[in-house]
Amino acid sequence: MAVSAHLRTFRHAAWLGWQMESNWTRPWLFMIYSIARPIAATLILVVMFLVVKQGVANDPAMFAFTYLGSVFFMFVAQVMMGATMVIMEDREHYQTLKQLYIAPISIRVYIIGRAMSKLLLTSVSVVISIAFGILVLGLPLDLGTVDWPLFAAAMALGISCILAIGIALAGITFLTAKHSSGINEGIGGAFYLLCGTLFPLTVLPSWAQAVGMAIPLTYWLELVRRSLYPGSAMEAISGLGALGSGTIMLYLVVSTLAFLAASTLIFRYADRRARRAGKVDMTTSY
């Protein structure tokens, strides 16, 4: 299919996604919802930290490690879920999936387009959370010392990887019932646990550390933290201190490519199975 056709699909899907996200009768509720929920999730960790450590100043590096991990994980939870929920919403709720499915467009491009509104909103939530962290919670972050090129490169690769996983999960959603939207929760939960999001990988059992090291998001979070905190503070905590940033970037590139390939295969397989099983226009509510 021509690139222009993909771009058109992407543009229209992104527009549709934004309309669906933002076209509320009460915009204030939409804004609160978009921001309050992820910030609350981060604040749970902050309170857990404060209950144990009695203050940010008692372990600022660990606080920054957890806070940033939690904030940037919003991309995984929201964008990946956004991509997966496209299938659920369009099939079961709006019941438009069958029309989209037979249209001469790439469903994967459509899913990516639809996820763009989530990406935009999550970016806003991340910026607000970081500002909140610095101004209210005393997050020790100096924007003047940030390694912006490393940050930009890590974010580009990380978001690509998150979208690839989202598409694979969207494919699997073709095959599963409505209530198994737990698939997002489950995969998201696994990444949350295994990718060094809240705590250093070294806290985990060795087998879990090995699994974590095979997931690109581990390297993405590590590079995001290193780019925001150049120096040795983050490297000392994460358990990946022995690896240089270049090596981690290489790991991130290779593992992202592997996930992209796997995502393509999983989506194709699930798509075919869904057609064979007649699940493209399934509704399963109960």
């Binding site: 019932a177 399934m282 509704t283 399963t284 509510s285 109960y286």
Partner: protein, 317 residues
Amino acid sequence: MAYALEVSALSRAFTGKQTVVALENVDLKVKEGELFGLLGPNGAGKTTLIKILSTLLLPTSGTAKVLGYDVDGEASKIRPLINMVSGGETSGYGLLTVRENLWMFSQFYGVPGSVARERIDGLLKAFGLEDKANAKVRTISTGQRQRMNIIRGFVTDPKLIFLDEPTLGLDVTTSRTIREYIRDWVRARDDRTLLLTTHYMREAEELCDRVAIIDRGTILACGPPAELKRRMNHASTFVMDTTSFDPAPLSAVRGVKGVSADEIESGKRVRLVLEDESAISDVISAVVSRGGRIVSLNKVEATLEDAFIEMVGRGLG
């Protein structure tokens, strides 16, 4: 004679950016034991009226009584006595079987288990759905699903049932099964009443004791189909076949006093209802001037559809 439905000066407006008047000053009485038809084009107000009568919607003004109870203040007395089925509805749960779905809905009306089972078995048989009784609803066809929906309406043994386009999009055999059941159901007991909306004139003509024609929220006529047709006796109905022509002048013809026209086949076949036969020459001129040639012109017996066309000014199609 007791009335199953008594509607008086009933109006309903939907307010939003623009106010839409769905029903305006509707008066209607349906006797107990009647099979009553409501005919009207899309957007005429049929579904709004059914929603009000089935206690889903309140009127803006006027009153409506269902089986003697007011829809506004006595909804809880009406609900045990009625049921409602809409054509093309997707109710129920796809993971349950047909039998389970029917049982579930019967429980919402407090039907005892053994009675529900007996009724479900009888209805599944009557509608030729016994072999699908244990199939999950998400696996059955549209026609089978619609038969299940209709069974859902009857399984609670209502005194009054609203059927909104029950045969919409169904094949001939299924439609006939449904029509036969509807007729037998009403006739089986004196206290059963059925309000039917349909797009199919033949269905209304064949089934209904009386019919109301509704358009733009207003009842235009009400009576037995034969009486409505008799009102057409002063008029003449023609079916005209032509070679292809620009159908635009038909809109002009429709505007001529005493002439109603309905295209059966765009630019080729027209059904005409004329109060005065002499107006036929104007119609022929209109067609010929647009490049059409008259292939045949036949005077036919008036139908309910002709009555409808004359009153509404257009067909249902």
